[in-house]
Every structure is written in structure tokens, then in C-alpha cells.
Symmetry: C2
Subunit: 414 residues, 2 copies
């Protein structure tokens, strides 16, 4: 739905007056000393670079205080504070396996070797000279949402802690296919081993078909150079696949005819099945969505108009629709999607809602372009059980209590 149609749908003269007069009453004392103070002094002069307002410094990533070490673990993006599709670069979620290496761009090298006609070593300047392109794209940790596997949902759950291991940025880079073609692929080539320059020598196997389809080497994020936490100076991008394949600080790509079964694709990032077997190489991220407003930890002021807001994404390509329920799943309405809806990018959805002041449960479910529907928590647990760690994409329920407080609405399952 375009913006004009949307406004026609939700608005009309005086449609929101239930909101405004209340504010007007509060405003009787506005433009008092405090509101006028900034106009009476010279402000901050021009600066080479801007800082955020001090009153926004609470918007930071969440780091669990139970981590044994902050060198191996994750920090969560504060997704309920974000107001668009772009995740600010300094708040993109992190997942590291040996801390963030400090790489001197002048010393940076990328080696492509193995089953190639001619091994090549690129410096950063060479990589940047190749044809460039930009793609707005989400990255999601394979472990995002894993709180959903808990037997006892945490009432104090927030959107950050529920699904904050996902972020969305404009990435700039060059085609991996192009660089592989420069080296010349041996006809036996079927797999790549991609290795990072961190203390963990973090390493994953990538099928050559995927690499040639749409992988790229990124050196830019949201207009600037990658931040160290995102792989400065160069990281691999594997659109739609679990974040752990997007090797940061990439130093080496070895072409092979077989996967390498590295530590982080065998002991981790694998999925135990209820029948006792284990699935590995489960790369593509499933359709997900989450309501970020209202969401856990927030509070509504009073009954009246609210715009339900959230984000959705899928590794399958485009989000086709997002449906929202404001009555705990008894009925569903199709939300508006912010245009343009881009493949493999997050999409923002909204739905106008009149809250009657009574307790209710809000739900959202994403539907991807292949008509896959995001499942309920009960469906995920039924299929995979509790002994699981990755690829949880169950619906996050938020319960709005009388009085406006919002808490986790996920049920305790049998």
C-alpha cells in the first residue's frame, strides 16, 4: 500500500482528535522557560562529526551479564528503538568468537587459493577497484530468537532480547564471483573454505553455487567503511543465510571439492532433531517478524489510537505480507508494508489500532514469497522440541495488561 492510500485509510479530518486535545491540555504551560531556553543562547558550533543527543544514550546494545567472557558471545540490537529500516552501524548486533581484531588496512590481504588456475592475493585497494554495488540486506544470527526454546517464557522479555540478533544495513562491496573468476576455478571446485582474521581463525564452508549466485565481499556499511565489529576492512556477505557464514575480517578463501566440517559447522550451528539425528548446513534463515511497538517493557498511556509497528524479514527473498492479530490470534489483519519492499532486506510493517484499555495479546506473522507462514511457538516446539538452539522463528506474543504495561505473552506449553 502506498503512503497516500495508507493515509486515506487511517486518517480523515479529526480522526485522531482523541490524541491531540489531551496533549493540548498538557500544553498550557508549554513555551515556558524550559521550552524557550534554547532560543536565548547560541547553540553548539559546527563540528567535523556529530554526536547523538545525550538524552538518547540509553539506546545501546544488550549484552547478557551471564556471559563467561565478552570475547565470545553476542550483543543484541535494540530493535524496538529503531525507527526505520536502517540499523545504525554502531548498533548492529555483534557475534564474535575471539573478540574483534584490530586490522591495519594497509597490511590487509585476501588470498584466494586451492583449486584455482592461479592463486591471487588482493590488497584492500585492489578489492575496491573492482566493480562495486550496494545492497540493503539483513544479517541474522542463526541463534536469534533462541529464548523461544525456553520452557518458561520470561515475563520481562523485550524485543531486543527476543529477536535483537538481526540488523539491516546498506552494504557496499564487490562480487565474490568476479574475484573467483579472476583466479580461475578448477573444474573440480564445489566448495569454499572462508577464514577470518580473528583470534578464533573463525572458518566456515560455503557451497560454490551460493558463492557464484549472490555472495559479495563488503567493505562499506551504511555509507561508511565497515566498523571493526562488522569485519573491517572486508567481510563476506552471504545473502539470506545465517549470520555465522558472513565471515568477518576475511583473509583467505580456499577453493575445494568438499566441505571442511570445521568446528563451527559441526559442534555449533547444527540442529538436533527430535529423532536423535542432527541437521547441519541449515543455512537459510526462515521468515520472521516481531512487533516492536508496543513491545515488552513498554507501556501504553491510555486507551485510544496506537500504530502497531514492527519488522519482518526472510532469507527466502521477499516478505509477501505480514498479518497482525490484536486479539490473541482469534482474528488477523494484513498490515501495511513500507515501500519499497526489497528482497533479502528487512521490511517495516504498521497497523492502526484502537486500544479499548482491556488486556489483550498482540501477535504478528510474516509470510514469505513462497507462501511459507511464520509458525506459532507451539508449532516450533512441536516440530523441534526444547533441546534446540538455532533457527527459532516462532511468533512473539506481547500481552498488553490493563493499565498499559506490555509483557511477554508467550505461553507456557505443556
Amino acid at each position: 500500500m502506498n503512503r497516500r492510500k495508507f493515509l486515506q485509510k487511517v486518517a480523515g479530518a479529526g480522526a485522531f482528535l482523541a490524541l491531540a486535545p489531551k496533549v493540548l491540555a498538557q500544553g498550557a504551560k508549554a513555551f515556558g522557560e524550559a521550552a524557550l531556553a534554547p532560543m536565548k543562547v547560541l547553540g553548539i558550533p559546527l563540528t567535523p562529526i556529530s554526536q547523538r543527543a545525550a538524552t538518547e544514550n540509553h539506546v545501546v546494545r544488550y549484552i547478557s551479564d551471564t556471559l563467561p567472557s565478552r570475547h565470545t558471545g553476542a550483543s543484541f540490537s535494540p530493535i524496538e528503538h529503531f525507527q526505520g529500516l536502517i540499523t545504525p552501524s554502531d548498533l548492529h548486533f555483534e557475534r564474535h568468537h575471539g573478540g574483534v581484531p584490530t586490522v591495519d588496512p594497509a597490511e590487509y590481504r585476501l588470498l584466494i587459493h586451492g583449486m584455482v588456475k592461479q592463486p591471487l592475493m588482493f590488497d584492500l585497494e585492489a578489492i575496491k577497484r573492482y566493480p562495486s554495488f550496494n545492497q540493503v540486506m539483513f544479517i541474522e544470527c542463526g541463534g536469534n530468537g533462541q529464548n523461544g526454546f525456553s520452557r518458561t517464557p520470561d515475563e520481562a522479555m523485550t524485543a531486543t532480547r527476543s529477536k535483537g540478533l538481526v540488523s539491516n544495513s546498506e552494504w557496499t562491496g564487490t562480487s565474490l564471483k568476479l574475484l573467483l573468476e579472476e583466479a580461475g576455478l578448477d573444474e573440480r571446485a564445489k566448495w569454499l573454505l572462508v577464514e577470518g582474521m580473528d583470534g578464533a581463525a573463525y572458518t566456515r564452508s560455503i557451497p560454490l553455487d551460493k558463492a557464484l549466485d549472490n555472495c559479495f565481499l563488503a567493505y562499506g556499511q551504511n555509507g561508511e567503511a565497515l566498523r571493526p565489529q562488522q569485519g573491517y576492512p572486508v567481510r563476506l556477505m552471504v545473502p539470506g543465510w545465517e549470520g555465522s557464514t558472513h565471515i568477518k575480517w576475511v583473509r583467505r578463501i580456499e577453493v575445494s571439492d568438499t566441505p571442511y566440517m570445521t568446528r563451527d559447522e559441526t559442534s555449533k550451528y547444527t540442529d538436533p532433531n527430535p529423532d536423535g539425528t542432527t541437521s547441519f548446513f541449515t543455512w537459510e534463515m526462515l521468515a520472521q517478524s516481531i512487533i516492536t511497538y508496543p513491545s515488552g517493557g513498554q507501556a501504553l498511556q491510555a486507551e485510544g489510537f496506537y500504530e502497531i509497528r514492527g519488522v519482518a524479514w526472510t532469507g527466502a527473498g521477499k516478505v509477501k505480507a505480514v498479518e497482525v492479530s490484536t486479539d490473541g490470534g482469534e482474528s488477523w489483519q494484513e498490515a501495511s508494508l513500507q515501500e519499497p519492499v526489497l528482497s533479502l532486506s528487512m521490511v517495516r510493517f504498521t497497523l492502526p489500532w484502537q486500544w479499548d484499555g482491556k488486556e489483550t495479546v498482540l501477535l504478528s506473522r510474516a509470510i514469505d514469497e513462497k507462501d511459507y507462514v511464520q509458525p506459532s511457538r507451539a508449532e516450533v516446539i512441536k516440530a523441534w522440541g526444547y533441546n534446540h538452539r538455532y533457527h527459532y522463528n516462532g511468533i512473539q506474543a506481547w500481552k498488553v495488561l490493563e493499565g498499559g504495561k506490555v509483557v511477554n505473552g508467550d505461553d507456557v506449553l505443556s
Copy 2:
């Protein structure tokens, strides 16, 4: 052109080998101590918020050192360092008239009054409760490019100083039309006076038609709250019009039947004509483009493959095409535009180029959806003369010297 077609066009096995072997030779000593050092230590631990790499700290805004005061003036975005469409929020160009006020969001109020049925006062929370939307949009200062009016082009010109008073962001906000409808417009209403909360009480007149068409009140930029330099907590957005109409820290919108002829729309932001008259209310920004790589101050390494890169934008809506000349204007080729091309957003263009090592001049010209073609510097000067300050949109020429140094290629005109 989509990415696949583009790669087919420019690539093919070994198409760039002229680049790579040179790098390979340099790479013989790579993976020496310096390149491997980061792998031998634990890196930086998880952090609530990330900093840029220290080696990127040269990417900052430019501020002229001849300004009488840094409270009134502009800082320029380092556009040749940007790698995508999004301008990092902390590097968005600035233009202030009395410094940047420090506004307490709890004390913030917006008054809509004048020719309305019911004056309304909104606090920040109320504004954010209205239906929201996002738009990727450029803002350009009306004075951008004014160096082009100089009789003596500066050989050391850079892209930053030439056209860096433009930036592009994803903005989040709510429709101004909606808030005006809440107040209820008097039938005499034809103009708005919009006033900022800065020390200059910076104030402009906006026609009601424009306000109802597509103006909005923004509180978010690139996913985060506006930075103080961009109007925290709320600014007016006037898509496609000169930046000076996008009132920051907006506190008051007064509805009227006549424009107000404020200081900053009479003594400034007006255009003297060669016949001695003066044009005012020249709001819409004209089609522009600039090559950012290679551009002034940069240096090419050696003959061979380069991708010419740049950005284009127009207040008229969509950029339809960008043409590039690599021979000083004798011939022109159509550049590739990064998709999606969004109306009123910057667009990125690229053109593959083989440099033969000889001196030449690079040019780019944007063509908008109404078939308006960005003029040459000579055409602009012929039409408007040198005694002009705003809306310069002449082509920026870059001269590539033998040896690879890039300097201003603008001619001294008669």
C-alpha cells in the same frame, strides 16, 4: 540495469587480470607478521556501542577556516568517501544560523496555530503516536555548489567542497497534513510560517499546497533519533526543496493566508537575475550529479581498469539517467544506476573505464524524469552570471593528469 546484467557487461573470466597479478606480486610478503598479528591475540570484547576504526578518522566534514563564526555557517559532507546511498548520520552536512540548540525532549512542544479551527500543542510522544512512515530522501543546501560561481576555479577543489552540501538519509516521521487536519484548516489558509527553536529563531514561509502534498515532521534518521545537528527532536521535511526550508527543532507552525517574507527568504536564499531583478521562493532543487571517484585530491595508481563512481539527485523526482564523458565532453556514455532508483533520493551511478594513462577530463550530467539536463558551467554562468549564490548545478569537471593526480577541470570562462 540490474546487477547480473551489469556484471555480464563488465566482467568475464579474467577481465580484470590487469589488476590482480600486480597485487599478487605485492602479496609475496603478505601474511607476514603484521598481517597475522591480529590472529594471535584476543580482540576487543563486546561493547554496547561501536566506534569507527581509528584508521577511518580522517573521514570528517569540511569546515572552512575563513568563517567569521562557527555558529553560523555550513559544514560539508565528505561525499567522495561515502560508499553507498546512505549518508552516515554523524556526517550529514550542517547549515546553522545560530548554532545547534540543546533541546530537552521532555520539554519539547510543537504549536500549530493561526488560521485553524482549533490550535493544538503536541508533545514529542503525541507526534510519535501518529501514523509513521519512512522515506529515503536527499537534503541539499540551496547554496550547494556555489564555488562554481567563482571566476577562478580552484585547482585543488575536492568533491566535498564542490558539492558536499547534500546528504541522503532514511527519514522517519509523520505526515504534516495529518497534524494540520487535526487542527482543522480555515478556508482562507494558504501559507505556513514554520519556526525553529534555535538562537536565530530561524523562520520560513511554506505554501500550504506543498505542505499538504508531501511534507512531514521527522523524528528519525537512519534508524535512530535525529542528531541535534539535524533538528532533534523534530524537524520539518520538504521533499525536493532547498534544505533551508527543512526547519530544524521546529516549535511553531502558524497558518496564514500570506507568506511572511522573513529575513531568510528575502535578504538570503534569493537569486539576483542578470537584468537586475531578484527571484525569491526558488525552492525546487535542480538535477545535479558529481563524480566522486576519481575526483579532486585523489590519485590513480596506473593505467588500467577503474570504475567511475558518483551520485546524482533532483528535486524534480526521479533521476532518469546519468551520462558520463571520459574525454572532456566529446562523447558521452550512459552510466549504470544502482537499483532501486527512488524518487527524491540520491542515486549512485557507475561506469567501467579503462584509463590509458594520458591526461583527460571526466564529466557527468544528470537527466531528470522531466528530461531536464544538468547544464555545463558555461551555460549556468551565461544564464545567471557570476553574481549568484544559490542553485548552482553546473557540471563538475575533473582533470586526470598524466601520473594519475586528479584536479579541478572547470575552465576559466571568458
